[in-house]
Every structure is written in C-alpha cells, then in structure tokens.
C-alpha cells in the first residue's frame, strides 16, 4: 500500500497526540490522584432508603479532624440536605459525598467545580472534594428527571472554622 510521506508524518503525529491525551489522564489519576466516580459506593434498595442509617437521616457528619461525610438524597425535585437547608461544611476540609436517589436518575453538580456525578436509583455515588476557601456554591440536578427538573436546586456553604463551630455548638448533628 502506497502512503504519501506527508501522510506518514501526519499519522505519526496523530498517534503521538493520542498517546499524550491518554498519558495526561493517566498522570491525573496516578500523579495528583484524581479519583473518579466508581462502584465504590455500593448498592442500596431504592425503595427502602428510610431503613438505611446513612439515608434515613441525610446529614453532614464529621468523621475525622478535617474530614466530613455528607449523605444526600436526590429526589424529584430537590436535594436533602441542600434544597431546604444548605449543606454546610467548614473551610480546609475534605468532604466525601454519598448520594442516592429513591426515584429516577438525577445529577449532582456543584456549579462551576468538578464536583459532579450521576445519581442512579439503586446505586450510591461517592465523590470526595476539598473545600478550601469560604464560599457559597449552587447545586443543580443536571440530568433531566421529570417535568419539575428545572426547579431542582440547592446550595452548599463552605464557612470559616469559627462559624462552623458556632453552628454545631448546639449538638454534633445540628
């Protein structure tokens, strides 16, 4: 088969580009340790979330000095916590979200960040993020979930450590 010299060069450059792209993703995973949404959250009975101790009472829970776990139920049409009460975490903390759905497929996206996952009934999505500066973020459902989809929103507040201490003074589960 006759291949033009320029075409051979182009082919070689194309393969280099592809390998660079694969390399960059691999580096992201191995180097900075960017963890992906995986099957690590396990399965759950979507019709019996109230029998699960994580999702019967969705909440923010401190699990280490600077680490927090947040259990969120995404439902038609809101997040609990998130919609009525904001999700509040302190600055400079590592936050792991566990999110599931009792009805249809939803999305959970902290607007303008890479905290983003699908929420599938029967599965628990697990994502870990770093909350650095105090700031307020919007949370939206980014997967169509029914006629009220556009009303499905929430907020997340990263507050200073002092504010967080004040908020939780009344009890750890406030």
């Amino acid at each position: 088969m006759h291949i033009h010299a320029y075409e051979k060069l182009w082919l070689a450059l194309s393969i280099v580009l592809i390998l660079l792209l694969i390399g960059s993703v691999t580096y992201g995973a191995v180097g900075p340790g960017i963890a992906m949404v995986s099957d690590s959250g396990g399965q759950i009975d979507a019709t019996a979330l109230d029998e699960d101790d994580r999702f019967a009472d969705p909440r923010v829970e401190q699990v280490g000095e600077n680490s927090y776990e947040v259990y969120v139920v995404a439902f038609q049409y809101g997040f609990d916590p998130g919609t009525i009460d904001p999700i509040v975490v302190p600055e400079n903390s590592e936050v792991t979200f566990y999110i599931t759905s009792p009805d249809v497929i939803h999305g959970f996206e902290v607007v303008g960040t890479n905290a983003n996952t699908m929420v599938v009934p029967g599965e628990v999505a697990e994502i870990t993020v770093e909350a650095n500066e105090p700031r307020e973020y919007g949370i939206v459902c980014n997967e169509y979930c029914g006629a009220g989809h556009h009303d499905m929103e929430g907020t997340m507040e990263v507050v200073t450590e002092e504010e967080y201490a004040e908020l939780t003074e009344g009890g750890e589960d406030a």
């Binding site: 995973a29 009805d103 983003n116 599938v120 919007g138 989809h149």
Partner: protein, 597 residues
C-alpha cells in the same frame, strides 16, 4: 433529441426505480428536519428566556424529546438510507435485487417513526392519555408510552432490512464480478452497516427484553444502570452512523466538486475499518460519572475512545489533500494560494468545507469530553450540546444539506432552484452555529446544566466567565434563530427545485482515486475478518461491565419505581399472571452472572 443522446445519463435515467426511493428517503429526512428545526427554535427562545409564552416549562421537555428524536433518528437516518441506496446502486452500477424489499424497509421505517412521533407529540395534549417525555436517551425509570418503544423497534427493524437489501445487492454483483475489488462507496456502506448491526443489537435487546415489556406492565422493574449501559452501547456508535454518510460524501464527492479526485482509496478503506472496529467498545465514556461502574472499565473505554480520534485525523488529511489536489488541477498555486482557486460559489462545496471545519472544532471539544478526568468539569453541562451541535448538528447536517445541492439534480433531473440561496443558506448555518455553539461551550464551563427549561436558579448566581450568562443566552438565541432561518431557506429551495421542469445533462460522474483500490491490501476487503475482530473487541469491552452490573443490581432491577406508569387495566391482570415467570427468569439469571464473575 440528438443533444440529449450525447449527454451522459444521470442516476435517475439509469435507475429510475431506485432514484424514487432515494428521493422518498430524502423527503422523509427533510420533513423531520423541518419539525426538528421548529422545535429547536421554540426551545432555544424558551431556554434563553427570550420568549417563554409559547410553551410551559413542563412542556419544554416534550419539545426537547421531539427535537432530539426527529433530528437524530429520523432526519439523519432517513438521509443515510437514501444516500446509501444511491451509493450502492451507483458504485455497483446495477439495480437492487428486488425493489419491493426496498419499499418494504422504507415503509417499516416510516411506520416506526410515526408511532414514536405520535407518542411524543401526544404529550402536548391532555385529550390523549399518552406521552413520551423521556428525551432521546430514554433513561429508565422515566417511562414512555409503549407506543414510543414499539415504534423504535419497528424503525430499527426497517434499517436492518435496508442493510440486508444492500448486502444482497452486493452479493448479486459479486457473482457477476468474482474478481473485482468492492467499489469504495459500497465498501463504506457495508462496513457502516456491520457496525450498525452490532450497535443496534444492544438497544433492540434493551427495548424488547426490558423497556417495552416494562412499559406494558409485564415486568415490574428494570435495572436502571443496565438499560442505561445498553443505551450507550448503541448510543456512541450511533453518532458514527450519523457521521459515516457525511464521510462518504467527503471522501467520494467533495474531491470531485473541488475539481480533482480522492487522494487515496486504500486509506479511505482503512478509516472505515477503524470505525467499524472502534465505534462500539467505547460507549462507557458516556458513563464516566456513573456510580455502579468500576473505574477500570471507564479507563479502558477512555483508551479506546482516544484511538477513535485516529480515523478522523486521517480523514482530515486525506480530505484536505484531495481538495488541494483539486485546486491545483484548477490552476491554483502557492503554499496557501490554491485556496482561492476553489469553487467557493458552489453551495455543495462551501457547505461541505464549512462542515469539515466545524467538525475539527467539534473534535477538539470532543477530546475534552473523552478525557476521563477533565470531563468532570463539563459533564451534563451546556458544553455537551455545544459539542454535538458542531458534530451532528453541523458536520453531519450541513454536509447533508450541501450534498443535497449536488445529488438532488441527478436523482430527479431537475436543476437546483437557486444556488445563490443555497450558498447564502450554508454560510448562514455556519455563522449561526458559530455563535450558538461557542456560547454553549462557554456556558458549560460556567456550570450551566443542559436539558433544563429554566437554567437560571433562585438560590445562587453563576460565576462570571468570559461573559455573563445573559450575554451568552443572547448569543445562543441569535445563533438558534439564524439556524432556523437557514433551515427554512434550505427546505424552500428544495421544494422550489421540485417544481422545476426536467432537463438533461445534469450527470456528474465520480472519477476514480489517485491511488486506486489496486493499491489496497486485499485483506481490507475481508469483511468476515473485520466482523470477527469487531465482535471480539466489543466482548472484551462489555462482557465484564455487564456481568458486574447484572451481578450487582439483578437483571430485572434492584427495586425501583416507574415514572409515570403506563399500564392499562387489562394489562395489569395479565402482568400478574406473567410476573412469576419473569421472576423465575431473574432468579435463574443471578447464578449465571455469578459464574461469569
């Protein structure tokens, strides 16, 4: 009369029966384009908050479903079956074996899409207890009326029969020409259809085994991750199914319009074989953010996806080289000076070139989508529709419109009503899409979600990026309006062309490639080999993920509801009778998947 005898016969002169089918398929395609564009403009103006009176925000999703299904199922695939029928008959230079079979698949496809279309459009009226507001992706547990799923099945069976029709015609040709290479256009059609058979096997299984029985109430539950995975098994190769007819035009027609000929026939074959092999084992890259699928499977899918860039990058080279050759044949000189020697006044040429240019841009945003980790930034944001309006919405749609200006006269003996309107229309499409798509990408980076009637929220504001969200909304609305006007001009031009009197002398024969099929290794034409490798790759990519999904959640679901439910009263009784059987099947399947694991 003597002048007429001297001119070369057109496609319709030689194959009047097939030309009729091709025209019918194109008209079906353009009807869908008109509907899709009408829903498109309503949706653009609603979403950007320019005009919200036409529909309620709840109805937005009915509009969105109609826009998606009519454009990416009926517009694209009806054009494909028309173009492929033309390509097979033209390149084999023989009629189809039995024209009745050809009309049969045309009618099946039409019936199928009508059923699905009725189910969707019924969502606008309360008089019919029917709707299918599930979008093009129809993720369960959102449920559509059974007619929606049944129509899809009928439509897909129609496309299967179309493929069989082309294979049969090729085999008949093969008997008469035992030692010839498969003509390039037929080769492209056959490899694309093999890909389609593999891809649609999953969606057919998903609809027939799970979604249709579930919508009829015969089974109570489905596994949302399983049906979603089966959708994307089909959902990625389908984008290449839209794209391959455009590639066929870029490889075999564009060089001729440019004044030259295809640079390399063997490399064109290599590209189509690569698409056959790599299109399917990549679908999981649409599920990078799915819980319930292990990271390793996502990584494998990412690697395959990146290699899928290769055939498109090769295409970029071959197409540009062929066009440059054409320009130099027309007297073009210089490093870039040859660009001025191209037939820019021809809407067929300019349309395809602009489509190719936008495809390159779409390719770059696609690399971001494919990047397993940076994808988190843009997943399900406006970036994604921004991306695919460059690919299917321009590379494919604009090439189809441009191709129509070249091919329609040859299948009807009627010259195009106005090439000037055609030229204006394709450039307008390019400008409209440049505005709309660019602003969509920018909104995506700000975190604005896709697929929502009201992307503004009461509880928070978007961060400020390259421009405010409102400013980007205006760009999207202007772009969308230009695209709508462009579509109307295209449709009007075609309709007026149909009213033109018939003339002769419109044939435009396609020259053979510079480096012809004799340079291509024989193995490229060994379709059995490529089918085998393609299936092995699909099994490698999907066997373990599917086994894990079934093992985790069960074949018939981990216990989820149905939203909304479409069970008729008589069916409930029937379902009660059948449910134990379905349960037994599910029980039997569990140990099987356990063994696989």
């Amino acid at each position: 009369m003597s002048a007429e005898l001297e001119t070369e016969p057109t496609f319709v002169d030689k194959f009047p029966q097939e030309a009729k089918v091709v025209r019918a398929a194109f008209l079906g395609s353009f009807l869908a384009l008109t509907l899709g564009a009408a829903f498109g403009i309503v949706q653009t103006l609603h979403r950007t908050d320019i005009l919200r009176g036409l529909i309620s925000s709840g109805e937005y999703y009915t509009v969105l479903t109609a826009h998606g299904v009519f454009l990416v199922i009926s517009f694209t695939i009806f054009f494909l079956v028309g173009l492929f029928t033309w390509a097979v008959v033209r390149s084999l230079d023989r009629p189809v074996v039995d024209i009745r079979i050809t009309w049969t698949w045309y009618l099946l496809m039409s019936a199928g899409i009508t059923m699905t279309g009725i189910a969707i459009l019924a969502g606008f009226t309360d008089r019919l207890d029917m709707s299918a507001d599930v979008l093009f992706t129809f993720y369960a547990p959102l449920q559509a009326h059974p007619l929606f799923y049944a129509g899809l099945v009928v439509f897909i069976i129609g496309t299967w029969l179309a493929g069989a029709d082309w294979f049969r015609t090729w085999l008949a040709w093969r008997e008469e020409n035992p030692n010839e290479r498969i003509p390039l256009q037929t080769f492209m059609v056959l490899t694309t259809m093999i890909m389609w058979y593999i891809a649609t096997s999953a969606i057919a299984a998903s609809v027939l085994v799970f979604l249709l029985p579930w919508s009829l109430g015969l089974i109570e539950q489905i596994n949302p991750t399983l049906t979603r995975t089966l959708f994307w098994f089909f959902g990625h190769p389908v984008v290449y199914f839209w794209l391959m007819p455009a590639y066929l035009l870029w490889y075999t027609v564009l060089p001729k319009i440019a004044g030259g000929r295809l640079f390399s026939d063997p490399l064109a074959r290599v590209v189509f074989v690569l698409f056959l092999l790599l299109s399917t084992p990549v679908g999981i890259h649409h599920q990078y953010l799915d819980p319930g699928i292990a990271e390793g499977f996502k990584f494998i899918s990412m690697t395959n996806t990146m290699f899928l860039l290769l055939p498109s990058l090769l295409t970029a080279f071959t197409v540009v080289a062929s066009v440059e050759y054409g320009a130099r044949q027309r007297g073009g000189t210089g490093l870039f000076g040859w660009l001025t020697s191209l037939p820019w006044r021809d809407p067929a040429f300019t349309g395809m070139m602009l489509a190719g240019l936008m495809f390159a841009a779409g390719g770059f945003s696609g690399m971001v989508n494919a990047g397993l980790n940076i994808n988190y930034m843009i997943h399900n944001t406006m970036w994604v529709p921004g991306h695919f309006h460059l690919t299917v919405g321009t590379a494919v749609a604009l090439t189809f419109m441009a191709g129509t200006y070249w091919i329609w006269p040859q299948i009807s003996n009627k010259p195009i009503y106005s090439k000037a309107i055609g030229l204006f229309q394709v450039v307008l499409w390019f400008i409209g899409m440049a505005l709309m798509s660019n602003a969509m990408h920018a909104q995506g980076l700000l975190g604005v979600p896709r697929r929502t009637a009201e992307p503004e929220y009461s509880g928070f504001d978007y961060p400020i990026g390259f421009g405010g969200v409102e400013e980007l909304n205006v760009q999207i609305a202007i772009g969308g309006t230009l695209l709508f006007v462009s579509t109307i001009l295209f449709i009007g031009n075609v309709v007026l062309t149909m009213g033109n009197p018939k003339v002769s002398g419109l044939a435009e024969p396609l020259p053979p490639a510079l480096s012809g099929p004799e340079d291509a290794p024989k193995v490229l034409d060994n379709l059995r080999l490529w089918v085998g490798i393609a299936i092995v790759l699909v099994v490698l990519a999907y066997a373990l993920p599917l086994a894990a999904i079934i093992d985790n959640g069960g074949l018939f679901g981990p216990g989820v509801g149905t939203y909304p439910q479409w069970i008729g009263a008589p069916l409930v009784a029937f379902a009660d009778a059948v449910a134990p059987i379905a349960g037994a099947i599910a029980d039997a399947a569990t140990p099987v998947s356990g063994v696989i694991r």
